[in-house]
């Protein structure tokens, strides 16, 4: 297996890019709808939860340095488990891509390409997905490393330009619909950190295997900070943000920001950058799908299957036609899919693999 090795920074960017796409599309709105004016508190709370969770995962992964979740599942349950987990992961990645792609294309269509069919826009995105995977993994990872900081900076930039609208009084009432809502059922909002999915796959790719913890912490921290910032900005600047759901909260921030004093309709630039971010994510998702597929089937070179994977994504995305229902499905999948797979199955797998290892080690000598 000829993996391209990842530097730490590249690995962090890899985890963060999924988060960026969600924060642009639907993440803040989802949290705002559930937590209202208490979203900031909720965001800080889930950041702490996720940090704890990351510590747990890293502790569990320590016994399996250099292995990804597929290898671990093989260790635990042999080939059948390996294939089940592999297929689940592929499904998760493909659906994640489908929903992001479909949502983004729909938004793009509404904003700029009213006369175009959505298939055309999605085709362009997937075209990049194919081209990039044929060009090579190194290009995908490096281009992602360039795009992610720019995208993060663009998001930060939007926050700066609404700074004069911020009013701390808007964070009241402090517990939007009761403390229990925020801290108990609000805990499920950790799905926001679904970039951790890649953490389970990244370990064998890393240049320095012992740096996994560093990568995990930095990426969680970056995501957390941006989540808190975006939610704080939205809550503090717009008092109706959790009563009226909008297309994309980040888009809403920009068209309300003071940037429009300098440029007419500055959102074009941001959409341009976020388009690049989505393209980058699609590349990475297809790359990981191919990697997992390669692991499951022992084929020699998987990169030409990129066409197949992209076609599958395209077809599934075209099947979801009714937009209102689709949005709901996407949000459900994002929330519960992440909770079940990343925070549920993968974690359970890790725990049981650790138990097996301990048990096995005790018996073997």
């Amino acid at each position: 297996m000829n993996y391209t090795k990842l530097g730490n920074f590249e690995a962090i960017c890899l985890i963060v890019v999924l988060f960026i796409n969600h924060i642009v599309l639907n993440l803040p709105q989802m949290i705002l709808n559930s937590s209202g004016s208490a979203s900031t508190i909720n965001a800080i709370y889930i950041l702490i939860l996720v940090l704890l969770f990351t510590i747990l995962i890293l502790k569990l992964l320590k016994n399996f340095i250099g292995l990804d979740i597929i290898d671990i599942s093989e260790y635990l349950g042999g080939k059948p488990l390996k294939i089940i987990i592999g297929i689940l992961s592929i499904f998760y990645l493909i659906f994640e891509t489908v929903f992001l792609l479909r949502m983004f294309s729909k938004n793009l269509l509404l904003v700029y390409f009213q006369n175009y069919p959505v298939s055309f826009i999605m085709f362009l995105f997937l075209f990049i997905g194919v081209v990039s995977n044929i060009i090579g993994k190194k290009s995908i990872i490096k281009s992602n490393t360039i795009i992610v900081p720019i995208a993060l900076f663009s998001i930060l930039f939007t926050f700066i330009f609404v700074a004069d609208l911020l009013k701390i009084e808007r964070s009241m009432p402090i517990f939007y619909n009761g403390a229990s809502q925020i801290f108990l059922s609000g805990a499920s909002n950790i799905f926001a950190f679904n970039g951790l999915f890649f953490l389970f796959f990244i370990s064998p790719l890393l240049n320095k295997k012992e740096d996994t913890s560093k990568v995990a912490f930095w990426s969680v921290l970056i995501c957390g900070i941006f989540l808190i910032l975006s939610i704080t900005t939205l809550v503090f600047a717009f008092s109706d943000i959790y009563t009226v759901s909008r297309l994309s909260p980040m888009y809403f921030i920009i068209i309300n920001s003071r940037l429009s004093a300098f440029l007419e309709r500055p959102e074009v630039i941001f959409i341009f950058i976020w388009t690049l971010a989505l393209m980058s994510f699609i590349n990475i998702a297809v790359m990981f799908v191919l990697n997992i597929f390669k692991k499951l089937t022992n084929i020699k070179e998987a990169k030409h299957l990129a066409v197949t994977v992209c076609t599958i994504i395209f077809v599934i995305a075209m099947l979801l036609n009714h937009i209102f229902a689709f949005e709901t499905i996407a949000n459900y999948f994002y929330k519960y899919g992440t909770l079940i797979l990343v925070f549920g199955i993968f974690t359970l797998l890790l725990i049981s693999a650790n138990i097996k290892k301990k048990f096995f080690n005790r018996r073997s000598p």
Binding site: Y112, I135, L276, S280
Partner: protein
């Protein structure tokens, strides 16, 4: 001429015999071709020089086609040595040697009788004498004509003894002369080069204000001296090699032995030694032969005509390749930002240098994207244009009959046309043509209502910014890619531009130049990001570029201005 003849010619024209020439193809009858080499069998297999001077002369005459090849001169004469006469001849190319040098310091000492060659030397033949048991054993120095000529008769600094025709021919072709002497199966290769060279002049394409004003010329030896004069260090290695099975073009591989990475040097040597071509004329040709990804049009090798720039790169740990006959040196490996660097950057203060660099990056973006973005915005994102500008554009387009995409492609093409025509016409009219093309045609087109003035502005800005890119190939790349962006912008607006930009980015990240990632100054593998884009102040340039992996990572002390902080 009779009148009837004229009439005849008019009404019954006969075909006048004209000259027809057709190339004989390999399928033609072999017998019709003239065979030449009949005297010496297997002429191509001869390697060693013959002892007989007649055979040598005959061989050379055949090999060089002396009967029809007029600039090769074979001068036969009688050589005096120790009062003996030998038959000998000199072989050289007329015009490539220094005539005075040959007359005064080769022919004179060999032909004329003087103390050196008339001395028969019998007195000194005995080197040592030992008497044992009344038998006198005399060690007698045997007279060796070869040694004698080499040591005593030729007052020249650079003489080599060659025994193979191949070597002799190579040196004659490069301007040396060869001395053949009867009974010797070797020849003397005497360096008497003296051909006309272009003098070292000002650089024409990489102009700087504060900096050295000399440029490489066509001769490789002069070029190497130009570099060596600047570097002034014994660790500079200049290795000669020849490329091209016919032309044997001399190339030089220069590097700093104590700085450049060994693997890099080995790789460069490997590539240069494994080029199977017939001839190599210019460094541009070599550049395409040695670069890693020759499919992509992004430049991957720096070409410079400035010795100071080449020397700077050498001291950084890069490799410089010189090609005889080409006034451009190649520098490898190269990263993207190197092509936006002007030689001036190191001479001026870092504030100015960085400002200029930002301007050049902006120019690159503009020349690459502006027409595409214009098409994208006017077709899809009208709201992005400030209202007043939009109204001005719409008003200016009121009489224009073409769609924007058609208009812009026509204008871009005609701009390229004007530029190309301006290059090709003789120098005195070149600028005039540019002015005519740009001003008069543009103005006339606007007046006639065929194109809108806004478009002329856009095309002009695009053209001007493309001149701000220091590297010629990079500017070329932008000119070509621009058309792709125009079409993408037309197809899908800014999304199309994004697609193009992403593919561009993917290609740029894919490319390697001698093992160095192309975008290494933005995303080095060792963690730091966005280093090396901007020029550091002179006192802070402490490290050599990370990606070169040099033997000496630091190029100056942490405190370079020792006078200022003497205690640190």
């Amino acid at each position: 001429m009779k009148f009837t003849d004229t009439l005849k010619k008019i009404f019954f024209p006969t075909e006048e015999p004209t000259h027809h020439f057709t190339m004989p193809s390999s399928n033609d009858d072999i017998n019709s071709s003239i065979s030449t080499n009949v005297e010496i069998e297997n002429i191509d297999e001869v390697k060693e020089i013959f002892p007989s001077i007649d055979v040598n002369a005959e061989y050379i005459k055949v090999k060089y086609n002396l009967l029809i090849n007029n600039d090769i001169i074979l001068r036969e004469f009688t050589l005096n040595a120790r009062n003996k006469q030998y038959r000998a001849f000199l072989l050289f190319v007329d015009g490539m040697i220094d005539m005075n040098l040959v007359n005064d310091y080769v022919l004179k000492p060999l032909m004329l009788r003087n103390t050196a060659n008339s001395f028969d030397g019998n007195q000194n033949q005995v080197i040592s004498e030992a008497v044992t048991n009344n038998i006198t054993v005399r060690k007698v120095k045997k007279f060796d004509i070869k040694e004698y000529i080499l040591n005593s008769l030729l007052p020249q600094n650079n003489i080599k003894v060659k025994s193979e025709f191949k070597d002799i021919f190579a040196s004659i072709n490069s301007g040396n002369c060869a001395l053949f002497v009867d009974t010797l199966n070797i020849a003397f290769d005497i360096d008497v080069k003296g051909f006309k060279l272009r003098s070292v002049s000002k650089p024409e394409n990489e102009v700087v204000i504060r900096g050295p004003q000399e440029a490489f010329i066509e001769n490789i030896r002069v070029n190497t001296t130009l570099i060596r004069r600047i570097i002034n260090n014994e660790n500079l290695i200049i290795e000669n090699m020849q490329i091209g099975s016919l032309s044997h073009t001399a190339c030089a591989l220069c590097y700093m032995k104590n700085i450049a990475n060994d693997d890099l040097v080995a790789e460069a040597k490997y590539r240069l030694n494994n080029i199977n071509i017939d001839y190599l004329i210019s460094s541009g040709q070599l550049e395409q032969l040695i670069e890693d990804n020759s499919k992509y049009s992004l430049p991957q090798v720096i070409a410079t005509e400035r010795p100071d720039k080449a020397a700077t790169h050498l001291l950084e740990g890069r490799i410089v390749i010189l090609v005889n006959g080409s006034p451009y040196a190649l520098v490898v490996p190269a990263t993207f930002i190197d092509f936006l660097e002007s030689p001036e950057d190191n001479n001026i203060k870092f504030q100015f240098a960085n400002l200029l660099k930002i301007i050049r990056i902006a120019a690159l973006m503009i020349t690459l994207l502006l027409p595409g973005i214009y098409v994208a915005i006017t077709s899809f994102h009208q709201e992005f244009i400030p209202t007043e500008l939009l109204f001005a554009i719409v008003a200016s387009r009121a009489t224009v009959p073409f769609s924007i995409i058609f208009e812009i492609i026509i204008m871009e093409l005609s701009f390229e046309l004007i530029r190309e025509a301006g290059l090709r016409v003789p120098t005195p009219i070149g600028p005039t043509l540019g002015i005519i093309g740009a001003l008069i045609i543009g103005q006339a087109a606007v007046d006639a209502g065929i194109v809108s003035p806004i478009l002329i502005i856009i095309v002009a800005i695009t053209g001007i910014t493309s001149f701000a890119i220091p590297d010629y190939y990079l500017a070329f790349h932008c000119r070509v890619s621009r058309f792709a962006y125009i079409i993408l912008g037309y197809l899908a607006g800014l999304l199309g531009i994004a697609v193009g930009a992403f593919i561009h980015l993917l290609i740029a990240t894919k490319i390697q130049s001698f093992g160095v990632s192309y975008l290494d100054s933005y995303i080095p593998s060792k963690g730091k990001i966005f280093t090396g884009i901007f020029t550091a102040p002179t006192w802070k340039r402490e490290k050599r570029a990370d990606f070169l992996d040099t033997k000496k990572a630091e190029k100056q002390e942490h405190i370079s201005m020792k006078w200022k902080y003497p205690n640190q």
